[in-house]
Symmetry: C2
Subunit: 374 residues, 2 copies
């Protein structure tokens, strides 16, 4: 593996990232074809499930120039006939001489068979170039393939002193417009926007992606015509959400997760009846398994302090994003997270810092669990 290989893979990763808003439930993949003189003869990325994979875009662009070229692909080429024929076969037929891959595809339908197919055709194969970076662009897909569960991001927003609303309930807006645009971008890339009955009852939110409110840099790579509404999932164990809630009237699918069916529900939405956990509430682990079965890679949670705390304490949160506003609300204001009362500091859920960024007037802190509790 040479520095040149890393440079081309870097380019393939950059291409792959163009798909983050649209490939659900598929992974993001990029491909660059480089000829013997070090000239790019084709490149592409996977846009959308059902459409050609990255390798096919690049091969079409290269045409006969693919013969003898090296292909850089951010994920092992597929070996199975799905909605499209296997990419490993397409690379072989095009006469590619060498294939450099960032990582194996943990999808049980592939899992090394793509690389094997290429090697058996006499193609030189190198795997593992920039693997960490390739993992990072498909956190959700990879986790689902490995565990059956989606990658869950919990979004929180609070004042410096960890408060989300005044004692009188006023909560809009604690964070600024740039933070709200940033939230729109996270929603847009997710398979699911998840919330709970408390939030719907108190804020009546839309929980959708509003193209006009996306950051300009997202709009520039994600045209309005391609807009995809993530599945909205509502945790409503006891069936408290009224049919009049605003989000039911908006385009896009809704899944309501309940502990028992609500009779005579007037709307054409999907109801999922889940098991009850030890605490008497909906089993959140089972819900995440169900979302994994439905092909959901990334789940974006915007919930009140009960549901947010329950997900965190159940060890179901992979990433916590806290938007911190530079203001103080005081200790009469409402708290951020409800968890069962702790007897000692050693019991406190521990996280590690992953990223800190200023977003407009606010700070966005990204953390991941220190030790994944399961």
């Amino acid at each position: 593996m040479s520095q040149r290989d890393r440079d081309w893979m870097q380019r393939a990763l950059m291409l792959a990232a163009h798909g983050i808003y649209t490939t659900h439930p598929n992974p993001n993949v990029g491909c660059v074809l480089v000829d013997a003189d070090g000239v790019v003869v084709g490149e592409g990325w996977h846009h959308k499930a059902g459409e050609p994979h990255a390798e096919v875009h690049a091969l079409r662009q290269a045409g006969l120039n693919a013969r003898g070229a090296t292909a850089y692909v951010t994920l092992e080429p597929c070996s199975h006939f799905g909605r499209t024929p296997p990419c490993a076969l397409a690379l072989i037929e095009a006469g590619v001489k060498r294939v450099v891959v960032a990582m194996q595809d943990p999808n049980p339908l592939v899992a090394g068979r793509g690389l094997q197919m290429l090697q058996q055709a006499g193609i030189a194969v190198c795997c593992g170039v920039m693997q960490a970076e390739a993992e990072a662009i498909n956190l959700g897909f990879l986790k689902r393939m490995r565990t059956g569960l989606p990658y869950v991001r919990l979004k929180l927003a609070a004042s410096l002193d960890g408060r989300t609303a005044l004692a009188n309930g006023q909560s809009q807006w604690i964070t600024g417009p740039a933070a709200r645009r940033d939230v729109q971008a996270w929603r847009a890339r997710s398979s699911v926007i998840l919330s709970g009955a408390d939030t719907v009852l108190s804020d009546n939110p839309s929980l959708n992606v509003r193209w006009d409110e996306l950051p300009a840099e997202v709009q520039s790579v994600y045209p309005y015509q391609a807009l995809r509404q993530p599945l909205r999932v509502l945790v409503d164990g006891r069936g408290r959400i009224p049919a009049s809630a605003k989000l039911f009237s908006l385009p896009g699918e809704v899944l309501v997760a309940r502990q028992q069916a609500v009779a005579a529900w007037p709307q054409a939405l999907t109801e999922w009846i889940g098991p009850t956990a030890d605490n008497g509430k909906l089993d959140l682990q089972a819900l995440m398994q169900e979302l994994g079965r439905r092909g959901c890679n990334e789940v974006w949670v915007e919930a009140g302090r009960q549901l947010a705390g329950a997900l965190l304490q159940a060890g179901l949160v992979d990433e916590l994003l806290l938007y911190l506003a530079p203001k103080v609300l005081g200790d009469s204001a409402l708290g951020l997270l409800h968890i069962a009362e702790l007897d000692s500091l050693a019991q406190a859920p521990q996280l590690i810092w992953h990223d800190v960024q200023q977003i407009g007037d606010d700070l966005r802190l990204t953390l991941r669990p220190a030790v994944k509790e399961k």
Copy 2:
């Protein structure tokens, strides 16, 4: 003003910073003497009140080489006879040809007279080189000279969700050892360590500087022999702190601020009787004025949520340092700041981000008031 002037002033500022732990109540000042060939012939910084000023150290080192040299000084040379003779005079007598100064000294005893004295002696004077940087190393001294009040830093430490202790009172340690060493460094540079009766009654803290616990980079510039204990100030309006409190038995001065004298107080400490504010408590503005009168430049506050919130709401905090631990305590745990309940978000005290640093496992957020309320 040339780039060369800026480079030498940068060096003088670096020298000045050596004094931050020891110059109280004096400002930090550095001086570099450079001859016509661009060679440093002398340099120095102010170590300690009563000892020579920066210029004198540099002139002594230069000896006869000072003749014809340029002096770079981070603060206007003094013009008055204090505990030492005026530095402006010393520069004149040494035959310095040009003096470059970062900023005028707002001390009413100087305030331009030093520069005037130099100019009248035929010395070329240039003022304002790296003024912002020079302001930054003497925030406390400069604020006191301009307003009579010290520069107040409020230290807070909390979990991600803004909690300082469990419901059962357990609070040691939320932040890690690196954050506690960092706190020792802030204590060491301050004129005052200020706390309140609640904190003394619940934690019985020492509120002193412990040389062994200073960060290694501070120990390397601040020898054990030079250790200075800041004045400890206790806000104890109603006289609740018992004479047995640990901090009374430790070396260093203590000032207890009360609303009325406590009879038969057994210890030799300073009691200051302050006025009562509209809220029935000790007037904190009057306390800060008193500390300014006593020559205190920087006040470091480690207080509970009542006193911390009162200082913040009174507009007396110049800088807020929040150590944020990457853990969650939940909403049954105790809050960070008590302020009067707000009716609308627009009333919330607003700050702006000044600095964000990772300190060990914790994050240190530094903020300053967005608009100074007075």
